[in-house]
């Protein structure tokens, strides 16, 4: 009885209005992140909970442990409030946003409620770790992001892991790194780049098994990455060889967030971009409370 009263009281709390945002331009990604440790207010969390749809609330409750529940709550809140702000002139009510999944399970905005409005062709993707929740937003082009704690320890041998799941060229690259700590970090960076690509593709895991493509640094550039897809080619009737074919359709960026995480972003390349590096605007946020533009960004 007491708990129900608490919930009903929350309904009568006024939700502050969200500050509207300008859309990203073409070939630009907006990256938003929340640090769960910075969100301590119980009343604020209650307000966040009220924004969620019933299925989203269920999912939050199913998480095992208070920290996991809180992070699940923050993740949905970040998605709803961020997208709600990118509407012309004024933010829409984040509670009214609806989401659906594409046929492979990738979440997207369902604009059916807004048939008469000029809906921006927004794309988004989220990723989270224990200590950071991120949401990437683009217009016109699909986006995938992945974040990992820089200090994340891999429980298996890094090379054994790579041999099992990564491409041969990536294994070669990792095996040439003499220092184990540097090797672990490069492994994690590669993981985030590969995950970001698969998520940007949005066709599920089987569309791009990790060992069928290679991501490597572009020589002579800072922050540029190449994607190569391995395909089998017949050399003659007896021999087959694997060839790595460069793929120009996707752009990558890898950066450090909050000094603690690697964040990889992958977007579909607009052929008009002329090979220019991805522009990324990074902002740390607490929904309804504050935004902080991160002007100095460390691209890797």
């Amino acid at each position: 009885m007491h708990v129900m009263t608490q919930m009903q009281q929350s309904f009568s709390m006024e939700l502050p209005s969200l500050v509207p945002l300008q859309l990203p331009s073409r070939m630009e990604t907006h990256l938003w992140y929340v640090l769960p440790n910075e969100v301590k207010s119980t009343s604020l969390l209650k307000q966040f909970y009220q924004l969620l749809s019933p299925p989203e609330k269920d999912k939050v409750l199913q998480m095992r442990g208070d920290d996991l529940k809180k992070n699940a709550l923050l993740a949905r809140t970040l998605v709803r409030t961020t997208i709600a702000r990118y509407q012309k002139n004024h933010a829409v009510d984040p509670r009214t946003l609806m989401f659906k999944k594409n046929m492979y399970g990738k979440p997207e905005v369902d604009w059916q409620n807004y048939k008469n409005c000029n809906n921006p062709p927004l794309h988004f993707n989220i990723s989270h770790t224990d200590s950071l929740i991120a949401c990437g937003v683009t217009v016109h082009v699909p986006v995938g992001i992945d974040v990992e704690d820089k200090e994340r320890k891999i429980k298996h041998d890094v090379l054994a892991f790579a041999e099992r799941f990564y491409s041969p060229d990536e294994v070669k690259f990792l095996s040439t790194i003499p220092d184990a700590e540097v090797q672990r970090k490069e492994f994690i960076k590669l993981w985030t780049l590969k995950e970001a690509y698969v998520k940007a593709l949005g066709k599920g895991f089987s569309a791009a098994p990790f060992n069928t493509f290679t991501i490597q640094s572009k020589a002579g550039t800072q922050g540029g990455y190449n994607l190569c897809k391995t395909s089998e080619m017949s050399v003659n009737s007896l021999e087959k060889t694997k060839k790595c074919l460069c793929n120009e359709e996707w752009k990558f960026a890898l950066l450090e967030l909050a000094d603690s995480h690697y964040a990889a972003i992958c977007i579909e390349d607009d052929q008009d971009s002329g090979g220019a590096p991805m522009k990324v605007i990074v902002r740390k946020t607490i929904p309804f409370v504050e935004d902080e533009l991160i002007s100095e960004n460390k691209f890797l």
Partner: protein, 139 residues
């Protein structure tokens, strides 16, 4: 404190009726060398009689899976894990899931195709795939 709010919404979840996810639930208490195992598995024994033997084997498989999952996610031994527990509910991300798969492959001497491995979401699904691959191996 934030924990009170989270705890209060958890309490509400327990008060309201929860939807049953599995049909044909049978609760079986598992005894292991005389001591009560603190894992309880609801067995879905909905398969034909000739495969009933593999139903019993699944308990052992599920226990091993559970052990490997807890180790990967650094969960305490007394963390309650059931057949239907989703790895994501325990806090596993995609990297954890892949490491869990590696752990399972090592433990059972099998290889899981990446597409199938990434589809495993619960302890039960992992156990079923393992049983299938072990059967194929010994066939």
């Amino acid at each position: 404190m934030t924990t009170t709010f989270i705890s209060s919404i958890s309490m509400q979840a327990r008060v309201s009726a929860s939807t049953t996810r599995f049909s044909l639930k049978k609760h079986v208490s598992i005894f292991n060398n005389g001591k009560t195992n603190n894992l309880s598995f609801s067995l879905q024994c909905s398969m034909p009689a000739r495969l009933a033997v593999s139903c019993a084997a699944k308990q052992e498989t599920m226990e091993k899976v559970s052990e490997i999952v807890k180790k990967q996610l650094s969960l305490p031994d007394d963390q309650k894990v059931t057949a239907g527990t989703k790895f994501t509910e325990l806090g596993a991300d995609s990297l954890d899931t892949v490491e869990i798969v590696m752990g399972l492959e090592e433990e059972f001497g099998i290889t899981m195709a990446e597409e199938r491995a990434k589809e495993i979401a619960t302890v039960q699904q992992a156990a079923e795939l393992i049983e299938e691959l072990v059967l194929e191996k010994t066939a």
